[in-house]
């Protein structure tokens, strides 16, 4: 990629700043726009088209939405996802922000750096790679934490994966893999808070709590909003964790648990791509609505 940095506006009659910027802005995003259309908008548009048509391509209105909602697993899955979402969002926001703030206060740079690394390590273990890990962690007969599981009253794998425990288990698994990455992001954002701002807070006599609450967290607003939007969408699209547990337990727990698992089932087991698209569109609408609320309330799009 070559960016010609020769003479610009200064030689020719300089275009007004706004117009010059507008042209440059488009050039900056041009390559991205091509990829966005090809691998974002086009497939998404196609999926939406699927959602409103049948296998033959005839327009069916909300037919696919109605038939999929009538599937006997649908309402259960909605309930499961809603409960999981609650656990997941709260734990993610509270723990990630607190851990990032704590790490940021550590006096030793080496210690903070190593901890961030260790917190991140599980992030590399995606999907199939962590099935084995969780099978052994959650099975009291072989688990390194079997005494802890015993204290909680679990003596067999079957008891651990009882239906009532699932939302919590999925939250733990998702947090284990996902939190480290966000801690790195939020920590980086904390680093970008100008030191004079922090200095000012200190001179004003603000303690750690006040600084965090009144200075740092407000300045992290955009990052936190971004995290919440993506975490909400990720949570609503819960898939990997139940799938993983279902593999580990050979189908006892986690199968057909979440809406997104149903979309896979519709699309690839029942040969009903249109039904799958309908559920996907519903999930999209929910995620986008949640995002819209957060965006509107936080001035997320303002180029300030």
């Amino acid at each position: 990629m070559t960016l010609s940095h020769s003479s610009t506006g200064s030689v020719h009659g300089r275009p007004s700043g706004a117009r010059r910027q507008s042209r440059a802005g488009l050039a900056f995003v041009a390559a991205y726009v091509i990829l966005l259309i090809a691998f974002g908008i086009l497939p998404t548009g196609y999926a939406v088209y699927f959602a409103f048509t049948d296998a033959g391509g005839t327009f069916t209105g909300f037919g696919n939405f109605i038939t999929t909602a009538q599937d006997f697993r649908f309402m259960d899955a909605v309930g499961h996802v809603a409960l999981y979402l609650l656990f997941w969002l709260v734990s993610l926001v509270v723990f990630v922000v607190s851990l990032a703030l704590l790490l940021h206060r550590l006096a030793s740079g080496t210690l903070s750096r190593s901890l961030r690394f260790f917190f991140y390590v599980p992030g590399a273990l995606a999907g199939a790679a962590s099935v084995l890990v969780w099978l052994f962690m959650l099975d009291p007969t072989v688990s390194p934490v079997s005494s802890l599981l015993g204290l909680l009253g679990f003596h067999t794998f079957g008891e651990v994966i009882a239906p009532g425990n699932l939302p919590l288990l999925f939250t733990v698994i998702a947090f284990w893999t996902g939190a480290g990455g966000w801690i790195v992001v939020i920590y980086g954002a904390l680093n970008n808070i100008p030191s004079d701002v922090m200095e000012a807070a200190r001179i004003d006599g603000a303690g750690a709590w006040q600084t965090a609450w009144h200075v740092q967290i407000p300045m992290l607003r955009k990052w936190i909003v971004y995290m919440v939007i993506l975490a909400f969408a990720g949570g609503a699209q819960l898939f990997v964790e139940p799938q993983l547990l279902s593999l580990a337990s050979v189908g006892v727990a986690g199968r057909d648990y979440a809406l997104n698992q149903l979309t896979y089932d519709f699309a690839f087991q029942m040969n009903n791509v249109n039904g799958a698209a309908a559920v996907s569109v519903e999930l999209l609408v929910v995620s986008v609505s949640a995002a819209a609320v957060f965006v509107a309330r936080s001035g997320f799009f303002d180029a300030d």
């Binding site: 610009t8 802005g25 691998f39 999926a47 390590v121 790679a129």
Partner: protein
């Protein structure tokens, strides 16, 4: 790195013991939570299948068993595991380069310039990012087919290269960490828009470039479903799909496998191989995730 050392230690209020203990124990609990399963995995690769079930969970097996696991793993389809690692590296690195060339300028453009369609672009990026992937597979497959790219590595690399998450990271970074005054000053000095980007913004963006690069690499490296569906030949498989196919050869997960079954410690070893590159890249990227070089240069 961390701003703490910059504080004049003499003027610091004496920290109370209790909060320090609290901080320490919270960090310790989370350290155990994050690390213990990984530690178990590392040790599992040094055990025999029997030791894994009968031995103490956090004990070291033996180098002999480790060697046996390594031999067993590499014997699976004539060294397939090394080929999977090679494939993954190829896909992840090429996409990473394209992603950086595309996402960083795009994030900058969205954050620091005004143009028609900017808002639409921000919204549509967010919307496609929130779309569940299950139903995108069919359209993507059809598109790649229409472009006659099925069976080539581009069927994986091009979709990977589209990385809206990175665009947003860059966008937020520039809007929050780089003051517009600085760029305006450069423009006044006669810098072109690209000059401003190349000579002012880009050097300031090292942390976010490292961040985007790292996350893009991880996303590409760990992606399972796209290559699983897209690639027609088994010798094109990346490591994630490979680990998946090893998993389906472990009797506990798929009882009906034959005598060539993969033992659980071998799967553990394969998993370790699969995550090592990500961790190396993390350590490398972390060196660049240093505090904003701007801190204090200009105030908003």
């Amino acid at each position: 790195m961390s701003p703490a050392p910059r504080q004049a230690s003499g003027r610091r209020r004496p920290r109370r013991l209790v909060p320090r203990l609290l901080t320490g124990s919270v960090l310790l609990v989370f350290l155990v939570f994050f690390v213990l399963p990984v530690l178990w995995l590392v040790l599992a690769a040094t055990k025999t299948d029997q030791q894994l079930v009968h031995g103490s969970p956090l004990s070291f097996g033996s180098w002999h068993a480790f060697k046996h696991n390594w031999d067993g793993l590499t014997a699976f389809q004539d060294n397939a595991v090394l080929q999977w690692l090679g494939n993954s590296t190829l896909y992840a690195v090429i996409s990473l380069v394209i992603t950086l060339c595309v996402a960083v300028p795009a994030g900058y453009g969205l954050a620091m310039t005004e143009f028609r369609g900017r808002h639409t672009l921000l919204v549509s990026t967010l919307v496609v990012m929130l779309m569940p992937t299950a139903t995108l597979v069919v359209p993507l497959f059809l598109e790649i087919n229409a472009a006659h790219l099925i069976g080539t590595m581009w069927s994986i690399i091009l979709p990977y290269s589209f990385y809206p998450f990175g665009v947003y990271l860059t966008y937020i970074y520039f809007t929050t960490a780089v003051p517009k005054d600085l760029l305006a000053a450069a423009r006044m000095d006669g810098c072109s828009e690209f000059g401003v980007f190349r000579y002012i913004a880009l050097p300031l963006a090292t942390p976010v470039i490292a961040l985007v690069g790292f996350f893009s690499f991880v996303a590409n490296w760990t992606n399972y479903f796209l290559p699983y569906v897209m690639l027609p030949e088994s010798d094109q498989m990346p490591i994630q799909v490979g680990v998946g196919s090893l998993l389906s050869n472990v009797p506990s997960f798929n009882p009906a496998v034959g005598p060539l079954a993969i033992e659980r410690p071998q799967l553990a070893l394969a998993t370790l191989l699969a995550i090592t590159p990500v961790l190396i890249v993390f350590l490398f990227a972390q060196r660049f995730l240093v505090s904003g070089m701007l801190a204090g240069a200009t105030k908003e």
